[in-house]
Symmetry: C2
Subunit: 305 residues, 2 copies
């Protein structure tokens, strides 16, 4: 089924211990929609770029069945830009520069054909923009996912909570879950956040995997231990793309199927970090994805006696 | 089958955000042997205490089938003492005091009946003492496990490597694996350490679970996300006790069975941290342990489609 993705399409400047990528393709919705495109039939993008964004990348996305009707291009504008440097151990990073550019005045407009999309992902944007998107939907989607960040918890908590109340899955990291709930233990944080509205909660723990919660059920998927992580940028968005893409393909929101979605998200993320920027997501085969899923199976499955 | 445990039996002074336990029962071999006693028939302890150590605890251990023939009691001596304070988030701790006391002159002597024990665990002690124990064994045990710490990598690396070469499973934490190998990525660290001798390597990652390596095979068990962790002291030793206890009971060192051993270790550790000191390990039923194993199964198992 089709999947609507709202979020940034951007340029990144990334420094890791393995190198420096200047004006690399970035943006949460870029990673998300590319990852999802391998799993589900039609991904519909809502975002904004300047006229500096490469046609080649747009062509790549269209070639993967990503619908760009909802991608606004501002003539004379510059695309969103983020620059960051990862620490030696890759577990932390410093933001060196953020230029909102065309994102500053982003007014998301859903093309008519997008308004009844059954699966929706609200990428990390101002809660106001996320709300604008929800308000344009017609009928109730099967599942709405949402990402956010600490910044909005500090700057726009009430508005953020209004959006959270309207979604089905919140996908955030451990720090964000702790800040949003005021609880340190993730089990407690999860219980607190689920009372805010979302039926499901996914807490991403970076190299330590991801947790899925529904009511008092809990599922854990590790991150795949890799010999080399070249660039963690976009791993979280790629996770979300694999996760929502799998749900959108299977049209099944049972806990059992959501578990598999977490594994698909983790698998896609583990592939993403093996090269800089979106390089690894440009050309994947289904068998490469299935092989990666198998590595997760081998990593965690055991037989009880 | 029987299992030989060499390590400390001690007093701890523990401060966590939940309270302060003074002169609490501690020591790696205490946690290890109690945890293992629930899984295998006979645990044989080699350690040293002063005359200050409570009879009550010794009786408890004997009641659980722990053989104390190898526990030396030094009249007029004081037992090993450690004091530490955990950070607010429980992920770090500061050592406030360490008093070796009777451990300073520990000369481990294996009673005759211990020398052919088929399963052996060398707790974290000076490599010299670990070697003395190995030298007293007659015949080749089925499996020798070993723990160590950063301190010995700094202070006695050559001697440490000699001992590592002679064991089958090294059980250390992620920081120790990184220091011992000089590699940050745990996959690379594991490859490096296995070349030092041990067929198996277990890397404990605290609240982030544990990894098992054999050749190029890898298995991961999460730590159980808990609402409250009252006292992490002894969790690693309890893990080792569950792990070695399970292997000793099943007498099977296939990778498939070692996976289950990691799950048993993780389950025992998750129980241990629910109360201060050895409190939770004093009286457990097999059904409590099986219930905990089931929680791990529920946490990680998923069906492939």
């Amino acid at each position: 089924m089709s999947l609507l993705a709202v979020g940034t399409v951007a340029f990144d400047d990334i420094q890791t211990p393995y190198g420096h990528a200047k004006m690399a393709i970035g943006g949460a919705a870029t990673y998300f929609s590319l990852a999802a495109s391998y799993l589900t039939s039609e991904v519909r993008l809502v975002s904004v770029i300047g006229d500096d964004f490469p046609e080649e990348t747009l062509n790549l996305m269209q070639g993967k069945g990503i619908d760009l009707q909802g991608l606004q291009k501002i003539e004379g504008g510059k695309s969103f830009f983020w620059a960051g440097r990862y620490h030696q151990d890759m577990n932390g990073r410093d933001t060196l520069d953020t230029q909102l550019n065309v994102l500053a005045d982003f007014n998301p407009i859903l093309p008519e054909s997008y308004r009844t999309t059954p699966y929706v992902m609200l990428g990390n944007l101002t809660p106001g923009v996320q709300k604008q998107v929800l308000d344009q939907l017609e009928g109730q989607p099967n599942l709405i996912g949402m990402d956010t960040m600490n910044f909005w918890m500090d700057a726009a908590l009430d508005e953020l909570k209004e959006v959270i109340k309207r979604v089905d899955v919140l996908i955030i990291n451990d720090e964000e879950a702790r800040q949003l709930s005021g609880e340190y233990a993730l089990v407690k944080a999860a219980a607190h956040i689920q009372k805010m509205g979302p039926r499901f909660l996914v807490i991403k723990k970076g190299e330590h995997g991801a947790l899925l919660f529904e009511g008092d059920r809990m599922f854990y998927a590790p991150a795949l231990p890799l010999a080399e992580v070249f660039d963690p940028t976009g791993a979280g968005d790629t996770f979300a793309g694999g996760f929502m893409g799998y749900i959108s393909r299977t049209e099944d929101t049972s806990f059992e199927n959501m578990k598999r979605a977490v594994i698909y998200g983790s698998a896609m993320a583990s592939i993403c970090v093996e090269k800089f920027s979106i390089e690894r997501l440009k050309q994947l085969s289904l068998s490469q994805i299935e092989d990666r899923i198998q590595r997760f199976v081998d990593l965690v499955q055991f037989e009880q006696k």
